[in-house]
């Protein structure tokens, strides 16, 4: 187990800079998720930590030791690849034992460690099989087993679930999290899937274009996104964002959007007349009786029941937004309704900079 520290890390491929001075610390035993759209640099950062990419500038340290010039094999890390990268010509047992054999571990140690990993991952019946004889989920578990037997300081996962179907992905998500809770090994996990990030992470690093947008616990990111990018990236369905202008003259402060729609401003700051992006999550909107004070009039376009909840696509003024309700509202497309907004749950961002306005 170990801590990991990034300091002003940069990465360039030729003249193209893909990582622009990233710095953050990962605590001992923490499950840290790097999340961002493809091309944001999360995989590159992970590969630099693994020693598969040179570090152009800055330092990366594992357990306080700078590893910039250290070979992968000396960093005491284990990595699970998106494609699993199992050795096709070796059995499951040999795949897991490979690293220990290279380290010239005693035969008894190897057998004991492989048996333990196989037990943890329910791979015992498959030890003599070859990767081609396994299902996707089983291969994924072998890849994890190969990491576990090493008992490394840090586990690295590079989009490990992307090749699995949706159902299996949810199951493996749970398995990886359970594994971490059991082994308590420091873990760095790169994914583009914000649901994976939210469900698994102790803390999340949101990345975009080679920069860190925000670091925090899943709920911090959800409740207080620091900028518009994080706000729209975290949460499913995504946050509704409406362009408007802050109005403080006259009645209660509000944001006026196109078509004269008035959205309650809550406690957000911002002078009268400021152009803003007004964000409200689908689950923080609800149906109200028309005439309720501060309610926003809307028209229903699509009703999507999923059983547990109902997703409504509605038109407010000139924009379409989504709302999620846990009830089973009796509404039909074309109905005119009113939306109640919880002013404590609104997010207001500067239109120019995308930064969150202070409360």
């Amino acid at each position: 187990m170990a801590s990991v520290s990034f300091q002003n890390v940069e990465k360039s491929f030729g003249a193209t800079k893909v990582i622009h001075g990233i710095g953050f610390d990962i605590r001992d035993g923490e499950f840290m998720v790097l999340v961002g759209p493809s091309g944001c640099g999360k995989s590159t950062l992970l590969r630099m930590l693994a020693g598969l990419e040179e570090i152009s500038a800055g330092t990366i340290a594992i357990d306080g030791r700078v590893v910039n010039d250290m070979e992968s094999k000396d960093r005491d890390i284990a990595m699970v690849f998106q494609s699993y990268a199992l050795y096709p010509h070796m059995t499951v047992a040999d795949n897991m034992a490979f690293s220990l054999k290279l380290r010239k571990a005693a035969r008894a140690t190897i057998e004991e460690r492989v048996a333990r990993a196989a037990k943890i991952l329910n791979l015992e019946p498959y030890l003599k099989r070859y990767p081609r004889e396994l299902s996707g989920g089983q291969r994924q578990r072998v890849a994890m087993g190969r990491a576990i037997v090493r008992d490394p300081k840090v586990f690295l996962f590079d989009e490990p679930l992307s090749n699995l179907d949706a159902k299996l992905r949810v199951a493996m998500r749970g398995e990886i999290k359970a594994l971490h809770q059991r082994l308590k090994t420091t873990t760095v996990y790169a994914t583009h899937d914000q649901v994976e990030a939210m469900t698994m992470a102790d803390r999340i690093v949101v990345m975009h274009d080679g920069r860190v947008e925000q670091i925090g616990t899943p709920l911090e990111l959800y409740d207080r996104p620091r900028n518009l990018f994080v706000a729209q990236f975290i949460g499913s369905p995504a946050m509704n964002v409406v362009d408007g202008t802050v109005r403080r003259n006259g009645a209660a402060p509000h944001v006026e959007a196109a078509g004269g729609v008035r959205w309650p401003l809550g406690a957000a700051s911002g002078p009268d007349g400021q152009r803003v992006a007004y964000g409200i999550r689908p689950e923080h909107l609800s149906l109200a009786d028309s005439g309720t004070n501060g309610a926003v009039p809307a028209e229903i376009i699509v009703v999507e029941p999923t059983g547990a909840e109902t997703e409504l696509l509605v038109k407010v003024g000139e924009v379409q937004i989504v709302l999620v309700t846990h009830g089973r509202p009796v509404v039909n497309p074309g109905d005119r309704i009113a939306l109640a907004v919880d002013p404590a749950m609104v997010h207001v961002f500067d239109k120019e900079t995308g930064q969150r306005l202070k409360v």
């Binding site: 693994a50 020693g51 992968s72 690849f81 494609s83």
Partner: protein, 283 residues
């Protein structure tokens, strides 16, 4: 069963129209070879489609070395075998190492080597026979079987490097990265991960180089001259030195000489075709 459509019939007919002439073209000389081999000396040139008195006498003469030209038949057969196997083995060694270094270790200058390898095929090997003769003379290797082995390796290596590099490129890079993280040195990566996965391509290329050396005449003729050193292909050529060449024995020996390559090809044909797509590991 449904009657085959007109389209299918015409397609089949077209294939047959091409296939039958090609088959006859290919098989006719071999049939001639066979015909000579089972004909008695007197009727070898009779021009029959089947000899009146087929005989295995010719084979007895060849195997028993009972003719002036066949005094060293078994030794020359052995020479051919040793040289072919050595050339095949050496080519594999050189080409595998080159392909691994260029494709997997991403060695600087790898592209240049690949281009050079391709470039060598702009010059026919026959043009290089005399320069090769001079080179081997400089090394003092003339009349030494090593000269032919090294020459054949030189001829076979560029194509082998090219094919093996292409096959290597198809192995997923993550395998190397996983092995590096697992603690493998480049040599361990080569031995424990790369070679086992390349086996089909290696068999294909080994067979290619082996057959190339086995079948070689020109270089063997130039570089070796002692009757006890030459390969069987050169010995076959020597049959033509006399005015009254024993054609039936020449053809019999030729038929025997052609059998090992046919057998090797038959055994490894799975790899010869498979070798070209061997790297295609399912993602």
């Amino acid at each position: 069963m449904r009657a085959p459509s007109l389209r299918r019939v015409t397609n089949e007919a077209r294939l047959l129209l091409i296939g039958i002439p090609v088959a006859i073209w290919t098989l006719l000389p071999i049939y001639h070879l066979f015909l000579f081999a089972i004909s008695p000396k007197e009727s070898a040139f009779a021009g029959n489609l089947w000899p009146d008195h087929p005989t295995l006498q010719n084979f007895a003469i060849v195997f028993g070395e009972k003719h002036y030209y066949l005094n060293h038949f078994w030794l020359q057969m052995w020479n051919s075998l040793v040289i072919a196997v050595a050339a095949g083995g050496l080519t594999l060694l050189v080409a595998t190492a080159a392909a691994f270094a260029i494709s997997r270790l991403k060695l600087r200058g790898g592209r240049a080597v690949m281009n050079l390898a391709l470039f060598t095929y702009f010059i026919p090997a026959a043009f290089l026979a005399v320069p090769m003769y001079k080179t081997m003379g400089l090394y003092g290797l003339l009349n030494n079987q090593w000269a032919l082995i090294l020459a054949m390796m030189t001829v076979a290596a560029p194509y082998s490097i090219w094919v093996l590099k292409q096959a290597s490129d198809k192995l997923p890079l993550e395998l190397d990265e996983a092995a590096r993280i697992d603690g493998a040195s480049p040599m361990q990566l080569f031995r424990l991960v790369y070679l086992p996965l390349m086996v089909p391509s290696l068999v294909a290329i080994g067979t290619y180089a082996l057959l190339l050396a086995w079948n070689e005449y020109l270089y063997a003729f130039l570089l070796l001259s002692n009757d006890r050193d030459i390969t069987l292909s050169v010995a076959l050529g020597n049959f033509l030195a006399a005015d009254d060449s024993p054609w039936e024995l020449l053809m019999t020996t030729g038929l025997i000489y052609a059998l090992p390559p046919a057998a090797i090809y038959y055994v490894f044909k799975r790899y010869m075709v498979g070798g070209l797509t061997a790297g295609a590991v399912k993602s």
